[in-house]
């Protein structure tokens, strides 16, 4: 649901107030923005790096009216962003897209890479409302595990599992590995997932086999961010407008494409 008519959500510029290094490849950028300060966990914004590009980024925090986005340097736009210092001007449109629903009871969050960012935002909001909050987080290596301290401050230690591919922290495996047994051992009322699409797909298979509720945030190429251009379509859904958060019933409808193919820059279907 778009809370504001698109015509009112015009691009505005703002200055970075703080830049924090989270890992060798990830930084968090902070700025003030009135509209985005009302964003809910799961929503994203379009960040304009003047003269370079405009890219979709999940909102990680809105405390005290300061908006945080956590960004991994993967290409041209994100590398340029990483070179910006406090005071630099950026443009903002949004917040766009839907958000995670607020569940009670026993909740599990599974994050891979920068997918941890919107889940941290969600965890902060759910902390006082749930009976048990569990967090499973995976990364390639120890130094790339994001928000370990923050998650530790929200979830009890026994409810946190970390995995690294090289074994430098936590279990040496993919984040999906410990999930099967966790889902068999403990009961969960909701499982929230954000990370690479292949990871989302595997976890969805695990929750489907056990008939568990799930909400997963997806990523697709985005241009307009408001449901017009068709760049971000998966199945019948637009990730920017109908998502980015989808529930089990919706994920089922897109299983021919989830983790299999996406629409590329030229509008053709390309395999992952």
């Amino acid at each position: 649901m778009l809370d504001l008519p698109t015509a009112n959500n015009q691009l505005r510029t703002t200055q970075l107030v703080q830049v924090r290094t989270e890992s060798p490849t990830v930084k968090t950028f902070m700025f003030t923005d009135r509209l985005c300060s009302k964003a809910k966990p799961g929503q994203f914004l379009m960040l304009w790096i003047p003269g370079i590009d405009e890219i979709p980024l999940s909102i990680m925090d809105t405390s005290n009216g300061v908006i945080s986005v956590t960004v991994k340097a993967v290409g041209d736009a994100t590398r340029h962003l990483h070179n910006l210092a406090p005071g630099a001007t950026v443009g903002v449109r949004g917040p766009f897209g839907n958000s995670f629903t607020e569940s009670r009871g026993r909740v599990l969050l599974v994050g891979g890479g920068t997918g941890t960012a919107p889940l941290l935002f969600l965890a902060k909001q759910l902390a006082s409302k749930t009976d048990r909050l569990s967090f499973v987080e995976g990364a390639k290596t120890a130094s790339e595990l994001l928000f370990v301290k923050e998650v530790g401050g929200i979830c009890q230690e026994k409810n946190i599992i970390t995995t690294t591919e090289d074994g430098t922290a936590g279990l040496q495996c993919l984040v999906t590995q410990p999930l099967a047994s966790l889902l068999d051992k403990e009961k969960f009322d909701m499982i929230y997932v954000c990370g690479p699409e292949i990871m989302v797909k595997r976890i969805f298979e695990l929750t489907e086999a056990r008939k568990l509720p799930i909400e997963a945030s997806l990523e697709r190429l985005m241009r307009c961010g408001i449901g017009l251009c068709g760049s971000c379509v998966i199945g019948k859904y637009r990730v920017c407008r109908d998502g980015p958060v989808f529930n089990a019933a919706q994920l089922r409808e897109m299983k021919d494409e989830l983790g299999i193919s996406k629409i590329g820059f030229d509008g053709s279907r390309i395999p992952f």
Binding site: Q10, G227, V233, K236, R269
Partner: protein, 305 residues
């Protein structure tokens, strides 16, 4: 009222209602067209397709303006050879006509793409000769009556499906272009494509769109599009699709009164994908209130007064 009060015969196409999806809006996949049709569209128009794939321009490709948006996508499209599969797939699941929008760099190019689209099952072809933001195509063609006529003739000769020409509003006198298209064999006209526009950011003092200039669409352009339809209908007996800023039933009715037989909807999809349904319902109520038996009965009425 009979439900067929809303159905129209448009240039040989049977539409259950006079609303269509405009080109370039969710225009790539069969599943999107299916969803739009289920949201009530009487026909769908695809993204403009050319002979070769194009990745389009870098972001920002879209920027919100006052009551509208400016876009400079740069015609990203998979090329007609890939897109024929999507047309075929769409034909298996759609119950409303699919109109394939085509662009090119020469008359031969247009004709070749149009033929492939028609052969793949397109119910009609719409020529995008007015796309204002890609070099070598669009504006130049849509602004030249001679070039336009040449393209329309060649495409007409290449296909035997209805041929719709989508005009550019970025001309001094749109009726000159309308005449060129109709005399060259166009079966219908869409009026209009986007208005050339620019957005500049005061802080950074630079144009926002990566392509600098783009095309303005949405509510803010409605009065201009409406005038274009009115001007053409004033002079020619040709089926017209009104396009530009339609977002509710009243807008649609205004276009019908100006002389359009159908409307296309683009930007308004951002706020509500069910807009086709609500417009159709509103038009139906309007017809009842005005004691009109069908949509046809109100087309062009504004010209009498």
């Amino acid at each position: 009222m009979e439900s067929n009060a809303l159905s129209i015969d448009f240039a040989g196409l049977n539409l259950p209602n006079p609303t269509m999806l405009a080109s370039g809006i969710m225009g790539y996949s069969a599943e999107s067209f299916h969803r739009i049709a289920k949201s009530g569209a009487g026909a769908v128009v695809t993204k403009s397709v050319g002979s070769q794939p194009r990745t389009g321009y870098a972001n920002p490709t879209v920027v919100q303006a006052e009551s509208g948006i400016i876009n400079a996508m740069g015609l990203p499209n998979p090329g007609i050879d890939v897109f024929t599969e999507e047309i075929k797939f769409s034909k298996t699941i759609l119950r409303v006509p699919i109109i394939v929008s085509v662009f090119g760099y020469s008359a031969e190019d247009y004709a070749a793409v149009a033929k492939k689209a028609a052969d793949a099952g397109a119910d009609a072809v719409e020529l995008n000769v007015s796309c204002p933001h890609v070099k070598q195509t669009g504006a130049e063609i849509g602004q030249s009556p001679k070039l336009l006529a040449e393209i329309v003739q060649q495409v007409k000769a290449a296909i035997n499906k209805p041929l719709i020409v989508k005009l550019s509003p970025n001309v001094t006198d749109i009726t000159v272009l309308a005449q060129a298209a109709v005399e060259a064999g166009a079966d219908a006209l869409t009026a209009v494509n986007t208005l050339r526009a620019i957005a500049i950011d005061a802080e950074t003092q630079m144009p926002i769109l990566a392509n600098k200039k783009g095309g303005l669409s949405g509510a803010c352009m409605k009065p201009v599009a409406l005038r274009c339809v009115y001007d053409i209908a004033d002079q020619y007996e040709v089926p017209i699709i009104g396009c530009g800023g339609v977002s509710n039933w009243r807008d649609a009715v205004e276009f019908l009164l100006a002389g359009a037989s159908a409307v296309q909807i683009g930007t308004a999809v951002a706020d509500d994908i069910e807009v086709f349904q609500s417009i159709t319902k509103g038009v139906e109520n309007y017809l009842r209130k005005k004691n009109a038996r069908s949509v046809k009965d109100i087309v062009g009425l504004a010209h009498r007064k």
